[in-house]
Subunit: 372 residues, 4 copies
């Protein structure tokens, strides 16, 4: 479905970086959900560029709900949010449109869309399109929070600098996740923040950029969510995460680390705790056979270094068909990893909520039948 | 869609490890494709357990096409393949059904299906269900090969032992991929085979198991395939790969390695070679902005150690609600990483073919319009 | 999705009239449903040709469940049913394969599948493929019946002969629907049966065929099921019904009759009856704004006369590219309208159950939220 | 997918009658289509209320394209069109919100959305939401016209008054379809216009309303489009048409008339004409076995009388739980059948274009393979 995702709550995004507006439509939301526009705006703030370690482009980025909410509650019909584009310097792009930026979508978009794509600022490929995703995700985050399900992300690694790991103790993890919601720079260890910021500033000073790994946890997701095979919880979550520009790796639990261990070292023993089934370790990141087991869902997402850098690069000119040297002017982020955390949280919320509803449908039918 | 995947060529799998048969239905195949049943069978052979490093369970696993092929060619209507289950020791499972195997789907299936799941041999969660996937993938592989698109996988890492990397030179990579098709143990470097086999035999001797990382390449996929955002080529491929049991990580190009570099180090410079656009390096694994750029698609897939081990483990008994010690008897693989390569190739072929057809639809409409 | 339908319970059909087997896979069924194989077989019997008014082709048509049922209950994983093809006279078709039968799919299949289709007995276009649909529908009918929702159909019209209308009184309608389940020839008025049978026999005597209109009622479907616009209950039901070969008209409530009345004559006044909202009339067939209103869903389905007739017809020979006279030999039905009733019931059950689950998912999430 | 439809070109609608804006997103459009905004506006004009036979509500209804078009051409990324709501008398609705209008969606929406729906002017159920559908359809109509495929509709019947039938001669039909595009009141016979207008004016004078049947033709659709069973051309077209509010019947070719004939009377004999396969009659409305046969696709769509009438009606008050008399004040149409023609054309264009692309995808893959 290209720009639409979700089996129960479908999310459709639209817009270009330098068009008149960008937006998102959520369909399938239950009626009667109280919409907290301030929370939506606050999540959007997290995504925005701030300080020395970010681009200097500033957008008001105020999300306007134009349908699907009536007197403060969802109506159950499609909820569309628009964000006007304001800070446009379209002329910046005209002169460089034929020089395709390496590791951007400039070349692939040109092939796919036969040259008709809106090239200004990356057009529909711009990271700006994640702003509507964050607005949509804010609603999903609220719905999940109403049910006691929380999502949090930290920068696990940034250009070689590592943060502390998530706590294996659930109560402690809960506190970490809560604290990450309001962190200006989402890490667990304050030293990591200092070192990572230094790396990003160094990259900025060099006209270069850095990437990193975001680790996320979904807490209190009940067991039994997800499907074997094609709609495994991993499949669905990875599908959503890979829709975020610059994501090049997604893994669960120990992830790629599994390749260094034996089964006896990493199998998660089952046990009871206060009458509830738990696993003593959580190497599988809360998922077995594609289905949640009640433990925290733990996900790593790798974000590559921002491809827009000030350093001179080799590229091609699609008009002259010659190789050229390129220096990308304008404003760019030396790192987006800190801004990406809220985007990751947002798409995780959309993914998890959709899987949750799949489970609801199945159980509900079962319950209806029992009553009769 | 749970057990169905694919927008153009939909693939529906069904069956349980110890039921009467397992199978797959492919719908949307073009009519007139010559079906090579020997190739389908040969691909199935690769997936089978062989030698000391595999389980001793032996299945004939002969795929029977029961619809969708007429006089040797696809009809264009649903193609269903059945594989009879024969080597069944169902009684083995009755006595252990309440002791849930750690890191298997036993517990999550029990929650999801309320205790009604077929528990014998993992039921629908069994790795056996990948046999129909391999049969379906064989057809996709053939169709892609007709268009000059080839897929190959090697064991990049197995319990700490690494294979050589894929060649960056395209001609050499082509040869590597061709050679991997017929390899008994798919690695590039023969020493790696010896060392990895030793690791697996050691794990077997210990009653333990090991996992690894599979690296795959899709060669000659044209540029322009995939979508921005939700149907990015990465999203689609990851969705398919995460449907394979035991997969816990999927990454593209440098993958998680991106977190250690700067943009200037890993951006892939664009250039012309013989009039064709290439990138000088391929750190992005052939995908920019979710769309193929014409370079080889390079994917890493992490397979965790087989959770069935002979060592004693802690688990729960769902009947007694007590913790118990468990020793899993029966036959199991100390490693499935070598058998998994053909499964990875198969689902990659299904994923890539589906994305390819999406592109065809779009281009075809464009061409039809031009003619008028 | 071509041969797959259903958002919650997906139904995939496969097979050709003269292949080795035909079948269906149902995915998304709740676990723990007791499967009544006798009921599935009994529904299949209704679809079979019987007596003078049907074809003389006889098929055992025994449905075999090969997955998704364990110890008598659904497992929640894909349920596949196979029906072997046995009574095959494939040679009959070889000699006539180039003479395309008028008003059949012979020509359109030839264009679509480029000549590769299995032409024997209509191949995948055969009415035989409705046998798996009936098996699948039997399971849906059972699940709905567990919740008190019943479906029944009668031949409202056959070659100009009309049956009595469904009773507007709900209790009486309930009895009519119950009685239709076991009727050899499903009509309300016995005289209609006699007259319709006479019409069919007359058509048979003339080497000709007749069609008719089937009226169906879905009783006790709760209000609130269906969606505005694209997934209106009418859209979904019509989509399913038009998948039955030979159906050329689908209408709801007064249907095409609406064009003769004014709004004041046909608006359905709202009222309370025993505290429950009803409409005093049911001209809208139980659906307003695409959503069920709690009244019986009433649907008319028009089935065209069977195109296989013994009379000489003009057609083309695709080999010689000449016009030819054609007499279709072999066995064919002078009418399928009576056999089609159970097919209509079956696809209605699949359609309604799917819409019902959509509603469950939405309500369940609402309820989960309230609890918290 | 509720408010999204289409496998290749997905169409998502959103908005409420009295919200800030309504709109539509089309995704999957090929890049490089020249967008004629004047044509989109002109199609919208046809849908608008005009003269004595329509409501007095006047909306500017200017469609604004906010994404997916760059320098006059489609970019290939989502194309979103917004229509601002301006002429809002929301206060009119507050006082009547508890008195549910018979044969409207007021009651069913209230059940489905638990009372949270926007009740003003029908909210998301308003006929106004067809305005974005017409804008989206205009683009599909343009693309089809580029390929020589045309769609036209006339009012076949209105409150008992019949128009002439479509010509069976293709050339004549072409002229009729062309002429209908610009007709103020789309009928073939001018007398029919006079008589139908008189019926509508009479209904208006009585404070009543009338409905009718729209007959549509799709000309020059190539043979081979559509699928057997679940995605039959009839299934897809009916699904789209039943998404239009007030539609209660959809039929193809002879439609329900088939029940009065024998097979020998209505089978469409095949023949060659100038080397092209045709059928001598077109009783099947251009579709056999769910697949187009190259003849005009002929569809009848029944639109019920507008439920908003000035006459007193019985209804319920959802607050008092009592029966009440209701007189609906405000502005309403005595008939929408003439305004509905362009809506029918629009959704037909979306439906047919989607099926056309499905065919393109399949053929394109075939062609790619042949080249190799």
């Amino acid at each position: 479905m290209k720009n639409t995702i979700g089996r129960h709550i479908s999310c459709t995004i639209f817009g270009e970086s330098h068009g008149s507006a960008i937006g998102v439509t959520l369909d399938g939301l239950p009626a009667g959900i109280s919409i907290d526009e301030q929370f939506i705006a606050a999540q959007g703030e997290k995504r925005k560029a701030k300080g020395r370690i970010s681009t200097q482009r500033h957008e008001a980025d105020i999300p306007h709900i134009i349908s699907g909410v009536f007197e403060g509650y969802t109506t159950g019909t499609p909820l569309t949010i628009l964000i006007q584009n304001s800070d446009q310097h379209s002329a910046d792009y005209e002169k460089t449109k034929n020089r395709l930026r390496p590791s951007h979508a400039d070349y692939t978009a040109d092939v796919k869309y036969l040259g008709y794509q809106d090239y200004r600022g990356g057009g529909h490929f711009s990271g700006r399109i994640t702003a509507p995703l964050v607005a949509a995700g804010a609603i999903a985050i609220q719905i999940l929070a109403d049910m006691g399900i929380y999502i949090g992300s930290h920068i696990m690694k940034c250009h070689g600098v590592s943060d502390d790991a998530f706590a294996s103790d659930i109560d402690l993890l809960n506190k970490q996740v809560a604290k990450l919601q309001t962190a200006a720079f989402p890490v667990i260890n304050e030293n990591a923040q200092r070192e990572m910021t230094a790396e990003i500033e160094q990259a900025a000073a060099n006209g270069d950029s850095v990437g990193g790994i975001i680790e996320s946890a979904v807490i209190n997701l009940p067991a039994g969510i997800g499907e074997p095979f094609f709609d495994s919880l991993e499949s669905i979550i990875a599908h959503y995460l890979y829709s975020i520009p610059a994501v090049k790796g997604v893994a669960f639990g120990l992830g790629f680390g599994f390749s260094d261990y034996t089964g006896s070292e990493v199998n998660d023993a089952l046990a009871y705790k206060d009458g509830v089934v738990i696993t003593k370790t959580n190497n599988n990141g809360g998922i077995n056979g594609g289905i949640s087991n009640g433990m925290p869902i733990v996900i790593q997402t790798c974000v590559k270094p921002t491809p827009s850098i000030y350093k001179e690069q080799d590229t091609i000119n699609k008009q002259t068909k010659q190789t050229e040297k390129l220096i990308i002017s304008g404003r760019h982020d030396p790192a987006i990893i800190h801004r990406a955390c809220v985007v990751v949280d947002s798409v995780l919320a959309l993914a998890v909520l959709d899987c949750y509803m799949e489970r609801c449908a199945s159980l509900a039918l079962q319950n209806h039948r029992k009553e009769d």
